[in-house]
Symmetry: C2
Subunit: 215 residues, 2 copies
Protein backbone atom coordinates (compact mmCIF):
# COMPACT_ATOMS: atom_id res chain seq x y z
CA UNK A 1 0.00 0.00 0.00
CA UNK A 2 1.48 3.36 -0.98
CA UNK A 3 2.01 6.12 1.55
CA UNK A 4 -0.59 8.92 1.58
CA UNK A 5 0.68 12.48 2.04
CA UNK A 6 -1.83 15.17 2.96
CA UNK A 7 -1.45 18.68 1.59
CA UNK A 8 1.69 18.46 -0.60
CA UNK A 9 1.16 21.85 -2.25
CA UNK A 10 1.99 23.61 1.04
CA UNK A 11 5.51 24.25 2.29
CA UNK A 12 5.85 21.98 5.35
CA UNK A 13 4.42 18.90 3.59
CA UNK A 14 7.04 19.42 0.88
CA UNK A 15 9.61 18.46 3.53
CA UNK A 16 7.94 15.05 3.58
CA UNK A 17 7.57 14.73 -0.20
CA UNK A 18 11.22 15.48 -0.90
CA UNK A 19 12.19 12.94 1.76
CA UNK A 20 9.94 10.26 0.22
CA UNK A 21 11.52 10.88 -3.19
CA UNK A 22 15.07 10.70 -1.76
CA UNK A 23 14.12 7.43 -0.03
CA UNK A 24 12.46 6.03 -3.20
CA UNK A 25 9.16 5.44 -1.40
CA UNK A 26 5.94 5.33 -3.43
CA UNK A 27 3.30 7.80 -2.34
CA UNK A 28 0.08 9.46 -3.38
CA UNK A 29 -1.17 12.95 -2.60
CA UNK A 30 -4.35 13.80 -0.70
CA UNK A 31 -5.16 17.44 -1.33
CA UNK A 32 -6.30 19.63 1.54
CA UNK A 33 -7.35 23.23 0.90
CA UNK A 34 -6.33 25.44 3.82
CA UNK A 35 -7.96 28.46 2.21
CA UNK A 36 -11.31 26.62 2.38
CA UNK A 37 -10.61 25.53 5.96
CA UNK A 38 -10.57 21.83 5.10
CA UNK A 39 -7.95 21.35 7.81
CA UNK A 40 -10.51 22.30 10.45
CA UNK A 41 -13.13 19.77 9.38
CA UNK A 42 -13.91 16.92 11.79
CA UNK A 43 -12.61 14.20 9.48
CA UNK A 44 -9.26 15.92 9.18
CA UNK A 45 -9.05 16.68 12.91
CA UNK A 46 -9.36 12.95 13.59
CA UNK A 47 -6.03 12.55 11.80
CA UNK A 48 -4.36 15.74 13.03
CA UNK A 49 -6.06 17.23 16.12
CA UNK A 50 -4.22 20.56 15.85
CA UNK A 51 -5.50 21.09 12.29
CA UNK A 52 -2.02 21.38 10.78
CA UNK A 53 -0.33 19.91 7.74
CA UNK A 54 1.25 17.52 6.88
CA UNK A 55 -0.15 14.16 7.90
CA UNK A 56 0.88 10.82 6.42
CA UNK A 57 -0.74 7.43 6.42
CA UNK A 58 1.50 4.42 5.99
CA UNK A 59 -0.97 1.55 5.90
CA UNK A 60 -3.02 2.03 9.07
CA UNK A 61 -0.27 4.04 10.75
CA UNK A 62 -0.91 7.79 10.94
CA UNK A 63 1.78 10.34 11.76
CA UNK A 64 1.97 14.13 11.77
CA UNK A 65 4.60 16.87 12.22
CA UNK A 66 6.86 17.09 9.17
CA UNK A 67 10.16 16.70 11.00
CA UNK A 68 8.87 13.63 12.87
CA UNK A 69 7.65 12.09 9.61
CA UNK A 70 10.97 12.55 7.80
CA UNK A 71 12.83 10.96 10.73
CA UNK A 72 10.40 8.03 10.65
CA UNK A 73 10.88 7.33 6.94
CA UNK A 74 14.64 7.92 7.05
CA UNK A 75 14.90 5.28 9.76
CA UNK A 76 12.31 2.82 8.44
CA UNK A 77 14.01 2.75 5.02
CA UNK A 78 17.55 3.27 6.28
CA UNK A 79 19.04 1.06 3.55
CA UNK A 80 16.93 2.34 0.66
CA UNK A 81 17.57 5.48 -1.39
CA UNK A 82 19.75 8.25 0.04
CA UNK A 83 20.98 7.77 3.60
CA UNK A 84 19.73 10.90 5.37
CA UNK A 85 20.73 10.11 8.96
CA UNK A 86 24.51 9.77 9.04
CA UNK A 87 26.51 6.59 9.67
CA UNK A 88 27.47 6.90 13.33
CA UNK A 89 25.65 7.98 16.48
CA UNK A 90 27.84 11.10 16.52
CA UNK A 91 26.94 12.00 12.93
CA UNK A 92 23.30 11.38 13.71
CA UNK A 93 23.59 13.66 16.74
CA UNK A 94 24.78 16.47 14.47
CA UNK A 95 21.92 15.80 12.04
CA UNK A 96 19.55 16.17 14.99
CA UNK A 97 21.31 19.34 16.16
CA UNK A 98 20.98 21.03 12.78
CA UNK A 99 17.40 19.83 12.35
CA UNK A 100 16.68 21.61 15.65
CA UNK A 101 18.57 24.71 14.50
CA UNK A 102 16.43 24.73 11.36
CA UNK A 103 13.26 24.45 13.45
CA UNK A 104 14.17 26.96 16.16
CA UNK A 105 16.58 29.46 14.59
CA UNK A 106 16.10 29.46 10.82
CA UNK A 107 12.39 28.74 10.51
CA UNK A 108 10.70 31.19 12.94
CA UNK A 109 12.02 34.47 11.50
CA UNK A 110 11.64 33.16 7.94
CA UNK A 111 8.08 32.03 8.63
CA UNK A 112 7.29 35.53 9.94
CA UNK A 113 8.75 37.04 6.77
CA UNK A 114 6.76 34.71 4.52
CA UNK A 115 3.54 35.57 6.37
CA UNK A 116 4.12 39.33 6.47
CA UNK A 117 5.90 39.92 3.16
CA UNK A 118 4.16 37.37 0.98
CA UNK A 119 0.82 36.24 2.39
CA UNK A 120 -0.50 39.33 4.21
CA UNK A 121 -0.66 41.56 1.09
CA UNK A 122 -2.34 38.77 -0.90
CA UNK A 123 -4.94 38.24 1.81
CA UNK A 124 -5.64 41.97 2.16
CA UNK A 125 -4.13 41.96 5.66
CA UNK A 126 -1.68 44.51 7.06
CA UNK A 127 1.98 43.53 7.17
CA UNK A 128 3.65 44.13 10.51
CA UNK A 129 6.72 46.24 9.70
CA UNK A 130 8.24 45.79 13.16
CA UNK A 131 8.05 42.00 12.81
CA UNK A 132 9.58 42.23 9.33
CA UNK A 133 12.53 44.29 10.58
CA UNK A 134 13.18 42.07 13.58
CA UNK A 135 12.91 38.92 11.47
CA UNK A 136 15.34 40.26 8.88
CA UNK A 137 17.87 40.99 11.61
CA UNK A 138 17.46 37.59 13.24
CA UNK A 139 17.75 35.75 9.94
CA UNK A 140 20.93 37.63 9.03
CA UNK A 141 22.55 36.57 12.29
CA UNK A 142 21.46 32.97 11.80
CA UNK A 143 22.85 32.91 8.28
CA UNK A 144 26.15 34.32 9.57
CA UNK A 145 26.46 31.22 11.74
CA UNK A 146 25.54 29.04 8.75
CA UNK A 147 28.24 30.74 6.67
CA UNK A 148 30.85 29.94 9.29
CA UNK A 149 29.64 26.34 9.60
CA UNK A 150 29.46 25.78 5.83
CA UNK A 151 32.98 27.14 5.39
CA UNK A 152 34.12 24.04 7.31
CA UNK A 153 31.84 21.28 6.01
CA UNK A 154 29.96 20.85 2.76
CA UNK A 155 26.62 20.26 4.45
CA UNK A 156 25.27 21.27 7.85
CA UNK A 157 25.86 18.03 9.74
CA UNK A 158 29.12 17.16 7.94
CA UNK A 159 30.23 16.15 4.48
CA UNK A 160 26.99 14.32 3.70
CA UNK A 161 23.55 15.53 2.66
CA UNK A 162 21.06 14.78 5.45
CA UNK A 163 17.62 15.50 6.86
CA UNK A 164 19.14 18.67 8.32
CA UNK A 165 19.78 20.15 4.87
CA UNK A 166 16.61 18.72 3.34
CA UNK A 167 14.48 20.35 6.01
CA UNK A 168 15.55 23.81 4.79
CA UNK A 169 14.26 23.36 1.24
CA UNK A 170 10.57 24.34 1.44
CA UNK A 171 10.99 27.66 3.24
CA UNK A 172 14.44 28.27 1.76
CA UNK A 173 12.67 28.29 -1.59
CA UNK A 174 10.41 31.11 -0.37
CA UNK A 175 13.41 33.00 1.00
CA UNK A 176 15.46 32.85 -2.19
CA UNK A 177 12.72 33.15 -4.78
CA UNK A 178 9.71 34.95 -3.38
CA UNK A 179 10.43 37.35 -0.54
CA UNK A 180 12.86 39.65 -2.35
CA UNK A 181 15.58 38.46 0.04
CA UNK A 182 17.69 36.20 -2.15
CA UNK A 183 20.59 38.52 -1.31
CA UNK A 184 20.67 37.14 2.26
CA UNK A 185 21.80 33.86 0.71
CA UNK A 186 23.78 35.24 -2.23
CA UNK A 187 25.91 37.58 -0.08
CA UNK A 188 27.22 34.57 1.83
CA UNK A 189 29.54 32.53 -0.36
CA UNK A 190 29.25 29.19 1.39
CA UNK A 191 25.53 29.48 2.13
CA UNK A 192 24.98 30.36 -1.53
CA UNK A 193 26.95 27.31 -2.77
CA UNK A 194 25.14 25.07 -0.29
CA UNK A 195 21.75 26.39 -1.41
CA UNK A 196 22.61 25.80 -5.07
CA UNK A 197 23.72 22.28 -4.24
CA UNK A 198 20.66 21.21 -2.25
CA UNK A 199 18.04 23.03 -4.33
CA UNK A 200 19.41 21.45 -7.53
CA UNK A 201 18.96 17.92 -6.28
CA UNK A 202 16.66 16.00 -8.65
CA UNK A 203 14.34 15.19 -5.71
CA UNK A 204 13.64 18.87 -5.01
CA UNK A 205 13.19 19.71 -8.68
CA UNK A 206 10.64 16.91 -8.89
CA UNK A 207 8.77 18.29 -5.87
CA UNK A 208 8.53 21.70 -7.54
CA UNK A 209 7.27 20.14 -10.77
CA UNK A 210 4.71 17.92 -9.06
CA UNK A 211 3.23 20.36 -6.58
CA UNK A 212 3.19 24.10 -7.23
CA UNK A 213 3.22 26.26 -4.11
CA UNK A 214 -0.19 27.87 -3.42
CA UNK A 215 1.57 31.27 -3.36
Amino acid sequence: MVVKVYGPTYASPKRVVVCLIEKEIEFEAVHVDLFKGENKEPEFLKLQPFGSLPVIQDGDYTLYESRAIIRYFAEKYKDQGTDLLGKTIEEKGLVEQWLEVEAHNFHPPLYNLVINVLFAPLMGATSDQKVIEESDKKLEKVLDVYEERLSKSKYLAGDFFSLADLSHLPFGHYLVNQTGRGNLVRERKHVSAWWDDISNRPSWKTVLQLYKYPV
Copy 2:
Protein backbone atom coordinates in the same frame (compact mmCIF):
# COMPACT_ATOMS: atom_id res chain seq x y z
CA MET B 1 35.33 10.82 31.03
CA VAL B 2 32.07 12.17 32.43
CA VAL B 3 29.70 14.22 30.31
CA LYS B 4 29.79 17.99 30.85
CA VAL B 5 26.45 19.84 30.85
CA TYR B 6 26.50 23.61 30.48
CA GLY B 7 23.96 25.73 32.34
CA PRO B 8 21.89 23.18 34.30
CA THR B 9 20.13 25.77 36.45
CA TYR B 10 18.14 26.99 33.42
CA ALA B 11 15.03 25.32 32.08
CA SER B 12 16.12 23.89 28.70
CA PRO B 13 19.33 22.30 30.05
CA LYS B 14 17.18 20.54 32.66
CA ARG B 15 15.75 18.53 29.75
CA VAL B 16 19.25 17.15 29.29
CA VAL B 17 19.95 16.59 32.99
CA VAL B 18 16.76 14.61 33.59
CA CYS B 19 17.57 12.51 30.53
CA LEU B 20 21.12 11.80 31.78
CA ILE B 21 19.73 10.69 35.14
CA GLU B 22 17.12 8.42 33.50
CA LYS B 23 19.89 6.91 31.38
CA GLU B 24 22.24 6.51 34.38
CA ILE B 25 24.99 8.53 32.70
CA GLU B 26 27.57 10.28 34.87
CA PHE B 27 27.86 14.01 34.31
CA GLU B 28 29.21 17.20 35.79
CA ALA B 29 27.80 20.72 35.59
CA VAL B 30 29.49 23.72 34.04
CA HIS B 31 27.72 26.83 35.26
CA VAL B 32 26.97 29.63 32.80
CA ASP B 33 25.40 32.88 34.04
CA LEU B 34 23.01 34.26 31.43
CA PHE B 35 22.31 37.31 33.56
CA LYS B 36 26.02 38.22 33.31
CA GLY B 37 26.03 37.49 29.57
CA GLU B 38 28.51 34.61 29.87
CA ASN B 39 26.71 32.92 26.97
CA LYS B 40 27.85 35.72 24.65
CA GLU B 41 31.55 35.43 25.50
CA PRO B 42 33.88 34.22 22.72
CA GLU B 43 34.85 31.01 24.52
CA PHE B 44 31.22 30.01 24.88
CA LEU B 45 30.34 30.99 21.30
CA LYS B 46 33.00 28.56 20.10
CA LEU B 47 30.87 25.79 21.60
CA GLN B 48 27.44 27.21 20.76
CA PRO B 49 27.57 29.91 18.05
CA PHE B 50 23.99 31.09 18.72
CA GLY B 51 24.80 31.78 22.39
CA SER B 52 22.09 29.47 23.70
CA LEU B 53 21.97 26.81 26.37
CA PRO B 54 22.43 23.89 26.78
CA VAL B 55 25.62 22.49 25.35
CA ILE B 56 27.17 19.15 26.26
CA GLN B 57 30.64 17.72 25.86
CA ASP B 58 30.96 13.97 25.69
CA GLY B 59 34.72 13.47 25.50
CA ASP B 60 35.76 15.64 22.57
CA TYR B 61 32.27 15.58 21.03
CA THR B 62 30.25 18.78 21.45
CA LEU B 63 26.51 18.99 20.86
CA TYR B 64 23.86 21.65 21.41
CA GLU B 65 20.05 21.99 21.22
CA SER B 66 18.39 20.20 24.14
CA ARG B 67 16.09 17.99 22.09
CA ALA B 68 18.97 16.87 19.86
CA ILE B 69 21.09 16.07 22.91
CA ILE B 70 18.40 13.94 24.57
CA ARG B 71 17.89 11.97 21.34
CA TYR B 72 21.67 11.42 21.12
CA PHE B 73 21.98 10.04 24.65
CA ALA B 74 18.77 8.01 24.41
CA GLU B 75 20.18 6.28 21.34
CA LYS B 76 23.82 6.00 22.42
CA TYR B 77 22.79 4.32 25.68
CA LYS B 78 19.72 2.52 24.34
CA ASP B 79 20.21 -0.49 26.60
CA GLN B 80 21.12 1.42 29.76
CA GLY B 81 18.68 2.99 32.23
CA THR B 82 15.14 3.81 31.10
CA ASP B 83 14.34 3.16 27.43
CA LEU B 84 13.08 6.55 26.23
CA LEU B 85 12.66 5.85 22.51
CA GLY B 86 10.05 3.11 22.15
CA LYS B 87 10.62 -0.44 20.97
CA THR B 88 9.51 -0.31 17.33
CA ILE B 89 9.97 2.17 14.50
CA GLU B 90 6.26 2.99 14.79
CA GLU B 91 6.55 3.72 18.52
CA LYS B 92 9.64 5.79 17.87
CA GLY B 93 7.72 7.74 15.21
CA LEU B 94 5.11 8.66 17.79
CA VAL B 95 7.82 9.70 20.25
CA GLU B 96 9.17 11.99 17.53
CA GLN B 97 5.70 13.32 16.75
CA TRP B 98 5.02 14.28 20.37
CA LEU B 99 8.52 15.70 20.80
CA GLU B 100 7.68 17.97 17.87
CA VAL B 101 4.28 18.83 19.36
CA GLU B 102 6.05 19.78 22.59
CA ALA B 103 8.48 21.98 20.66
CA HIS B 104 5.98 23.64 18.31
CA ASN B 105 2.61 23.65 20.08
CA PHE B 106 3.19 23.39 23.84
CA HIS B 107 6.45 25.28 24.24
CA PRO B 108 5.96 28.56 22.31
CA PRO B 109 2.88 29.88 24.16
CA LEU B 110 4.23 28.64 27.48
CA TYR B 111 7.60 30.27 26.83
CA ASN B 112 5.80 33.55 26.10
CA LEU B 113 3.89 33.23 29.37
CA VAL B 114 7.04 32.50 31.38
CA ILE B 115 8.77 35.54 29.86
CA ASN B 116 5.84 37.93 30.28
CA VAL B 117 4.31 36.70 33.53
CA LEU B 118 7.41 35.63 35.41
CA PHE B 119 10.58 37.24 34.03
CA ALA B 120 9.42 40.65 32.78
CA PRO B 121 8.23 41.93 36.20
CA LEU B 122 11.45 40.70 37.85
CA MET B 123 13.59 42.43 35.23
CA GLY B 124 11.63 45.69 35.50
CA ALA B 125 10.30 45.20 31.94
CA THR B 126 6.71 45.66 30.80
CA SER B 127 4.60 42.54 30.34
CA ASP B 128 2.79 42.37 27.01
CA GLN B 129 -0.87 41.77 27.94
CA LYS B 130 -1.87 40.92 24.39
CA VAL B 131 0.79 38.23 24.19
CA ILE B 132 -0.32 36.87 27.57
CA GLU B 133 -3.96 36.62 26.47
CA GLU B 134 -3.12 34.99 23.14
CA SER B 135 -0.71 32.56 24.78
CA ASP B 136 -3.28 31.54 27.39
CA LYS B 137 -5.81 30.79 24.66
CA LYS B 138 -3.34 28.82 22.56
CA LEU B 139 -2.15 26.80 25.53
CA GLU B 140 -5.72 25.93 26.54
CA LYS B 141 -6.42 24.55 23.07
CA VAL B 142 -3.18 22.58 23.07
CA LEU B 143 -3.98 21.08 26.47
CA ASP B 144 -7.45 20.11 25.23
CA VAL B 145 -5.74 17.96 22.60
CA TYR B 146 -3.45 16.52 25.28
CA GLU B 147 -6.48 15.68 27.44
CA GLU B 148 -8.05 13.75 24.57
CA ARG B 149 -4.79 11.95 23.81
CA LEU B 150 -4.05 11.10 27.45
CA SER B 151 -7.56 9.70 27.89
CA LYS B 152 -6.47 6.96 25.46
CA SER B 153 -2.88 6.25 26.47
CA LYS B 154 -1.00 6.70 29.73
CA TYR B 155 1.79 8.72 28.15
CA LEU B 156 1.94 10.87 25.02
CA ALA B 157 3.53 8.38 22.64
CA GLY B 158 1.76 5.33 24.09
CA ASP B 159 1.82 3.33 27.30
CA PHE B 160 5.50 4.01 27.96
CA PHE B 161 7.32 7.02 29.38
CA SER B 162 9.52 8.53 26.66
CA LEU B 163 11.53 11.55 25.57
CA ALA B 164 8.22 13.11 24.52
CA ASP B 165 6.94 13.24 28.11
CA LEU B 166 10.34 14.06 29.59
CA SER B 167 10.70 17.06 27.32
CA HIS B 168 7.67 18.72 28.97
CA LEU B 169 9.15 18.71 32.48
CA PRO B 170 11.26 21.90 32.65
CA PHE B 171 8.65 24.34 31.35
CA GLY B 172 5.73 22.28 32.70
CA HIS B 173 7.24 22.97 36.11
CA TYR B 174 6.98 26.71 35.46
CA LEU B 175 3.42 26.32 34.21
CA VAL B 176 2.17 24.36 37.22
CA ASN B 177 4.15 26.02 39.99
CA GLN B 178 5.12 29.55 39.06
CA THR B 179 2.85 31.24 36.56
CA GLY B 180 -0.40 31.05 38.54
CA ARG B 181 -1.76 28.73 35.84
CA GLY B 182 -1.70 25.34 37.55
CA ASN B 183 -5.46 25.27 36.91
CA LEU B 184 -4.81 24.72 33.17
CA VAL B 185 -3.39 21.34 34.14
CA ARG B 186 -5.62 20.61 37.14
CA GLU B 187 -8.88 21.24 35.25
CA ARG B 188 -7.98 18.44 32.83
CA LYS B 189 -8.25 15.08 34.57
CA HIS B 190 -5.91 13.09 32.36
CA VAL B 191 -3.37 15.87 31.88
CA SER B 192 -3.33 16.34 35.64
CA ALA B 193 -2.71 12.61 36.32
CA TRP B 194 -0.01 12.54 33.64
CA TRP B 195 1.71 15.58 35.12
CA ASP B 196 1.67 14.03 38.61
CA ASP B 197 3.12 10.84 37.19
CA ILE B 198 5.99 12.37 35.24
CA SER B 199 6.87 15.13 37.72
CA ASN B 200 7.08 12.60 40.57
CA ARG B 201 9.69 10.48 38.84
CA PRO B 202 12.82 10.25 41.02
CA SER B 203 14.89 11.62 38.13
CA TRP B 204 12.97 14.88 38.01
CA LYS B 205 12.94 15.25 41.81
CA THR B 206 16.71 14.85 41.72
CA VAL B 207 17.03 17.56 39.06
CA LEU B 208 15.04 19.98 41.23
CA GLN B 209 17.19 19.19 44.25
CA LEU B 210 20.49 19.51 42.39
CA TYR B 211 19.81 22.66 40.39
CA LYS B 212 17.41 25.32 41.58
CA TYR B 213 15.79 27.36 38.82
CA PRO B 214 17.23 30.90 38.60
CA VAL B 215 13.66 32.24 38.94
